[in-house]
Amino acid sequence: MTDPVARLLETYKDGLEAQPEEGTSINRLEQRVRSTLRERAVARKRTVTRLQLGLAAAACFAVVGSAIAYRAGSSSGVATNAQSVPAGDWLATARGIAEERHFADGSSVRLEDESSARVQFVEAKGGLVHLDHGAVRLKVHHVDGSTWRVAAGPYEVEAIGTEFTVDWGPSREKPLRVSVTEGTVAVRGPAFRGTRFVSANQVVEVAAAVTEPPSAPSAEPQPVAVDSLQPETAEPMDLDEAASPSSTPGVQRPRSEPSWRALEASGKYAEAVKVAQRRGLSSVYQSGTADDLLALSRASRFAGRMDVARDALMACRARFAGSPQAAMSAFLLGRSASGRAAAEWFSSYLREQPGGALAREALGRLIEAYQAAGDRVSARSAAERYLKSYPDGPHATLAREALHR
């Protein structure tokens, strides 16, 4: 053999073959291999499961994050600060800055730029957002019994649906604008005959009265009518009217005489009261709905028939005790009363609707009523309550004066 490499490797091969072979046990080898394969399969399943869970969690975070980001930037392109809700604090946003707050029940409120609002209270299943001016978008996560409302001036928008925007500008020509993105909301206030329901893709706007009703008891500008109803798909439905189609304004009636509610809705308050009186006020007091009674009271006040207005409100309180309309009746009774009587009515409203749309107004007028009645102690107490809840409210100056007297 002349190849030294071959010679070396032949020597190496001979040495290897001279080594005793271990003689691998097939049984033991097969058992070990099968065991290892089973363990690896289990480990791979765990890894896949963890990866799936991780991916699912990441996807959820991404979807939620995208949704929040979309919500934050979809309406006006302004920057948004998303935080948890600070119930009780006033929120104010500057130009180009929106604020978004999240509630424990999954709902959220977005305060658009140049707006001011207060999350007046938060309950386990809802709450009240008091909009001072500007626009809020409320997205409600509905659970059984949940109630979310937005109060804007004398108006109240209750969430029956899931997403809507309330735009309130007291000094504007059309101070209230409610637009619904999903579901339905109930809008209540002086310009509506009872409850106005606004559904998805619909907008309702309320215009301030151009002229004051001659007998309006308040110096406040009184919105008197639904100025524009801009449904994109259909007219918002007034359930009161739907229940009694004959009262729908603008519809050709089979009878020659329009209903008092149609007249009231068209601003013909005196005629409305006369028609109601011809058909029997007692029947309205006894069988009318709560909204009928509030509408009759409104028409009567504007027509100068304070006796009818008071009777209608008293009937509402007697027949619909505990309802929002009954509380509203207390507020209206207080506004038409004076001194101690007025204080009692405003106290009733605050007791029945502590977070109601008119709570701020009722508490301010309560200070006035106590002062008119000469009750300084009660006036001071009401002033303290007012400043605690509404330090920048319209009665804040009066409240501070009451505290220093």
Partner: protein, 218 residues
């Protein structure tokens, strides 16, 4: 020289006990049936797979690694890798070479680990291993021990190329396939490994004596 060697029966053909020489068609048919059975996790076929290839895998590992204390673990690793990857075998008829390739990869991993440790003069356990005593004359045992040591100083891929071709008796193409490289790359590694082996052997007094008697290292 190498080109001529690849066409001559120079490599040492080792015994293939337990592997009768079936016809080509029979071998293909048997390998295909075995692969199908392994993919079905057929217990009988799997048992047959162990019986047929355990010895072959162990021998391949022994020739590439030399005596190893954890040979059983290495054989185990080869079979685990093979059964987990059986679905990836595209040509069932290539099963024998494929299993050998897995054994080569397993050995290469071990050699690379040893090669990196050699700079620290460390064995896998931190203790220099002693080769088991073998029968035969003293000079042959000393030569075997010296060859084993200088093989461990070679690059793992060169060592594998030399041993697969020279000791395990594979053809260039089969050895290249087992290493997962082209034939030309294999030839380059083989030439480099042989040169390195001869160079190291010349530095060994034992091997110079072992081969000098016959004047092989001059």
């Amino acid at each position: 020289m190498l080109a001529a060697r690849t066409t001559t029966p120079a490599p040492l053909r080792l015994a293939t006990a337990g592997f009768p020489e079936p016809s080509a068609d029979d071998a293909v048919h048997a390998a295909t049936a075995m692969v199908e059975g392994l993919r079905r996790s057929d217990p009988a076929v799997t048992r047959r797979f162990f019986e047929m290839y355990a010895g072959r895998v162990e021998r391949t590992l022994r020739r590439l690694l030399g005596p190893a204390e954890d040979m059983e673990d290495l054989v185990h690793d080869v079979f685990v890798d093979a059964l987990e990857a059986i679905d990836k075998l595209r040509e069932p008829a290539a099963l024998p070479g494929w299993v050998t390739g897995i054994a080569v990869i397993t050995a290469k991993r071990r050699l690379q680990k040893q090669y990196r440790r050699r700079w620290l003069s460390l064995s896998p356990t931190g203790v220099l291993p002693e080769l088991p005593s073998t029968p035969g004359d003293v000079e042959a045992r000393a030569a075997f021990s010296s060859i084993h040591q200088i093989l461990n100083l070679m690059r793992p891929e060169d060592k594998i190329a030399v041993l697969l071709y020279r000791v395990d008796g594979l053809t260039v193409d089969d050895a290249a396939a087992a290493m997962g490289i082209s034939s030309s790359t294999f030839k380059r590694r083989l030439r480099r490994g042989e040169r390195h082996l001869l160079k190291l052997a010349k530095r060994s007094t034992t091997l110079r004596i072992w081969l000098g008697e016959e004047g092989r290292l001059s």
